[in-house]
Amino acid sequence: MQDESGSEGAHYDLGLTRVLARMREAMEASLRGLLDSAPDAMVIVDTSGRIVLANAQSVSLFGYAREELLGKPIEVLVPERYRSGHVRYRDNFLERPATRPMGVGLELYGRRRDGSEFPVEISLSPFQTEDGLLVISAIRDTTQRRQAEEARAYLATIVQSSHDAIIGKTLDGTITSWNPAAEALYGWPASEAIGRSIAIIVPREQLAELEEILARVRAGTTVDDLETIRMTRDGERVNVSLSVSPIADASGRVVGAAAIGRDITERKRAEAERARLQEEQAARGKAEAAVKERDEFLSVAAHELKTPLAVLRGYAQLINRRVQSGGVGEPGWLVESVDIVEQHTDKLTRLVDQLLDVSRIEADRVVLELGPVDLAAAAREVVAFARTRYAGGPEIEVGGPDRLVVQGDALRLEQVLVNLLDNAIKFSPGGEPIDVELSANGADARVAVRDRGLGVDPAHRERIFDRFYQAHANEYRSGMGIGLFISRRIAELHGGSLEASFPEDGGSCFSLMLPRRIDG
């Protein structure tokens, strides 16, 4: 204040005009200061359209020096192509001056000193001065806003045109947005879906899963490519792959979720189709393998049957020849020959029985004639028979109780014992000793046939009970590959089992286990 009164004192001699001029200057200065502090570019023009004032923002926005603008028509700030039109608009405005935004509904552009253009938003305010009407234009550069809008529109277009269903929802599952793909996939129009619960597309059995998804989103985590089932408006189930991400507001707080659902029904169908084809192929392969296996078996079986047949036919012819030529000198020879014929008839019968057994087992038509069977007696009988049949073969020892009674079919169990012992002898070409061990273990009776012969290569062990499988097919003549298959089946039909083990010191051990007959 002191300064000011001092100042006033210093200019005491000035005339009124100058005082007024200075007052105006001061007012202009303060007005300019006011305008310079405004956030928008502001330009004041007079009725002739000449710029009488431009604030700092307008200077920096348009790239002119303030002096360059003052006194120029406002049109310097307008792109050339709009200039003549602008003059007309300006005249119209002056006829009905009022505060309003300029060019409503039009895209407005400003022009910088270097000729470049930028989008603007302008509002106009007329005000009366003693020098006449002035118009203040407030000009805002909308480049950034326009870009943001464009980006938003672009994103919206992506969402709208996406083939994936994209759904926005609140944390409690209320639908907030619903794109056309969601309409197509789920059958609900956006207008009906928005505002409802997301549960409208979740089948009852998946509701727990929905809760889990929402819980995860609330915790700020995502759900990625969850393959699940959703429901259309008609209640039809669709396979979808679902990705759900939390949506955060500017402060980072999770306020909702975006769910992207892809229809994978077709893919699932294709997968199922592929699986079906693979299965079919596997089944075909299996069938072909079975046919091949059967062919091989038939060739082996034919070979096995032809050998005793050759003996029968040969001896019949030889006996005939010698009888006709009167050469059957020694009666011993004839007896021996007839014995051989009988043995081979038995052998042939056994082979045919085995073949019939296979078909009976496959048709599930094996009938057991059950009764008490003393396994101990049966085993000793079979061993005694083998000792005479394979005279000069391996030594066979029998150990264990004198009596071991099971409920079973005596003939079938004998067949199993014969098979196990025959195998043991056949695969002990060096005549290694064989043990037959009987034992009772609680409710089980057990017969173990242990040889010290060839054993079974580990590669073949798993398959030795398979039908037609011959572990020694290549290196050892070994029948038709059905003996163990039949024996195991007979054990199983008795409620028992037949297992193989292969002792460290070589050979094989086959254990027949049967439930004991306790009253026996």
Partner: protein
């Protein structure tokens, strides 16, 4: 003397063929597998080998290979004696001079053996 070696793992067949061929005047040697046969032919020459194919220890195929390797040009003719379904093919496969398929006719067996032992001149 016409010496025929019969190789078969079935003792009854060995006896039978031995009886038949001896009745026809052949000298018959027997072996119950390829290994035994190989030992026999190393000890004495034979005029014909009647060879079963499926045998334990050493089968017909293995014997055939070992025998030809060992004797080369000096090999006696081999007649395959088999119950296989394709006796003819088996004979060709091992380069045999002939085959007798089981079950066989005695007359046929004798005829084949005689042809091979006496050679084409008497056939």
């Amino acid at each position: 003397l016409n010496r025929v070696l019969v190789v078969d793992d079935d003792p009854a067949l060995l006896m039978l063929v031995t009886d038949v061929l001896r009745d026809e005047g052949f000298t018959v040697l027997t072996a119950s597998n390829g290994g035994e046969a190989l030992e026999l032919v190393s000890e004495q020459p034979v005029d014909l080998i009647l060879l079963d194919m499926r045998m334990p220890v050493m089968d017909g195929w293995e014997f055939n290979r070992a025998y030809r390797e060992q004797f080369g040009e000096g090999c006696a003719p081999i007649v395959v004696f088999t119950a296989a379904m394709n006796a003819h093919a088996t004979a060709e496969e091992v380069g045999a001079h002939g085959y007798v398929a089981k079950p066989f006719d005695l007359d046929h067996l004798v005829k084949v053996v005689r042809e091979q032992v006496n050679g084409p001149k008497q056939a």
